[in-house]
């Protein structure tokens, strides 16, 4: 077919991109430990990433808790296991649903915004302007954003989990007359470090992946404004896919250490 890309070229492009991502990651670690540190920009990015996602993540978490409890309750009632509702909901939210759903929301919100911002800075030559003023744009723009995403996503997940459990409590309270104390006692009695630690540790990797992909796509965006759109879009798609891969690896590793 005329004009169709040769599969060999696609494969070559795939390996080229993989190599570029690898070099980008290595450069991130190298620059992150080298002075001077951009503390002010890091704090600014933490505030931007955390604060701007707060409402969306909180809202999603609340609805997630409500829906999960509302949908599970009839089945649990049918089996006479309604007393296990708090622990069942608690474990599923803290271990899996909370981190993954929140990270996916963050991939959409944070990943796309980083990709679009850096992409537009690239095409309007703002990154080049930083470079010619003798400043390291990678350190100022990329390192701070990746670190901020790595630090903020776990906090957003913890907040989302908490709000989600509160949503779940509301359903249990109105449908099963369960008190606040009983509900949370039940949850914490059945939670172990094996539930908490891997679930929290993997969120750092989620944040890192979201920041890294967003920055990579934005920093190397090409072809004008259309390229900026593509950078934002592919940042979300690739980061979302990566989250599931990381989640799968995290479950495998946690299984080895905690014998889940």
């Amino acid at each position: 077919m005329p004009g169709a890309p040769f599969p060999g070229n696609q494969l070559k492009e795939y390996f080229r991109q993989t190599g570029e991502v690898w070099l980008f990651t290595v450069r991130f670690f190298r620059e992150a430990i080298r002075r001077p540190f951009e503390w002010r920009e890091l704090l600014h990015q933490c505030y931007t990433i955390g604060n701007k996602s707060l409402f969306l993540v909180g809202m999603t978490g609340f609805i997630m808790g409500l829906v999960l409890t509302l949908q599970t309750r009839p089945t649990m009632e049918e089996f006479g296991a309604v007393a296990y509702m708090p622990s069942m909901v608690g474990i599923s939210i803290i271990r899996e649903i909370g981190p993954v759903i929140t990270a996916l929301i963050c991939a959409g919100k944070i990943g796309s915004s980083i990709g679009a911002e850096l992409g537009s800075m690239k095409v309007t030559e703002q990154i080049a302007a930083m470079e010619v003023s003798g400043t390291n744009p990678f350190k100022f723009l990329v390192v701070t954003r990746i670190l901020a995403a790595t630090l903020m996503v776990p906090l957003l997940v913890i907040m989302s989990d908490t709000i989600s459990l509160f949503g779940s409590f509301l359903v249990e309270h109105f449908k099963g007359e369960v008190s606040f104390r009983l509900f949370f006692n039940q949850i914490f009695r059945n939670l172990t470090f094996g539930d908490l630690i891997p679930a929290t540790v993997k969120t750092f990797f989620f944040g890192f992946a979201i920041g890294l992909v967003g920055c990579f796509k934005g920093y190397y965006s090409r072809e004008g404004t259309a390229g900026v759109g593509r950078a934002a879009n592919s940042a979300v798609v690739i980061a979302s896919m990566l989250l599931f891969v990381i989640d799968f690896i995290a479950v495998l590793v946690a299984d080895i250490f905690y014998d889940l």
Partner: protein, 242 residues
Amino acid sequence: MEPLIEIKDLYKSFGENRVLNGFKLGLYEGENLVIVGKSGSGKSVLLKCIVRLLEADSGTLKVLGQPIPGLDQYTLDQIRTEVGFLFQGSALYDSMTVRENLEFPLRRHPEKINSQGVETMVLNTLRSVGLAHTIDLMPEELSGGMQRRIALARTLILQPRIILYDEPTSGLDPITSKEIIELMLKVQKEYQASALIITHDMDCARVISNRMIILFDGQNHAEGTYSELSRSSDPVVQAFFK
């Protein structure tokens, strides 16, 4: 006299497309050198090679006596603080106020902060481009001409010895263009910097240049003062003066 910028036999290609084909120039202290060429003739590529935003394929490229290709990052950054670059689209940081735009390079090069302190330096530089009142505005609140002036102020704040202008009047109306040209002359005197100006605005070239080079097919096609070149019978040169 040693040139501030010395270029000999510079070559740069993008794939099969050879953009610079053995170009050469020397920029001397206190000089305003204008390079004229049609669109796509490699003028902007040349400027980007000088500050190593692009790597030249081969040739000699020295800035302030230092060979730019192969220079380590630290020395390159030090040289970059001596070479101001005014981008065609201004390239102001759109998430920062005018004040932050000017403070940005200064805070990263504290050795450039003089006894007046950052705040006074920012204000004085803004005054020299006539826009001190815009200090707390965002770039999006400024007109195209004002953005160009602020970009020039950001270039000047590090007190460079050389200023590279990439199409300083492009996209501006004739009146604003004239104001920018006058401003360039004013700051040139005030800061005593040499300038390398890329343009196809012949009014700009006439007013500001001490010397001109016509860049054609990636090579030096003709060289001389504005009046010398305007009298040339070469059809390529004449095409720029019509």
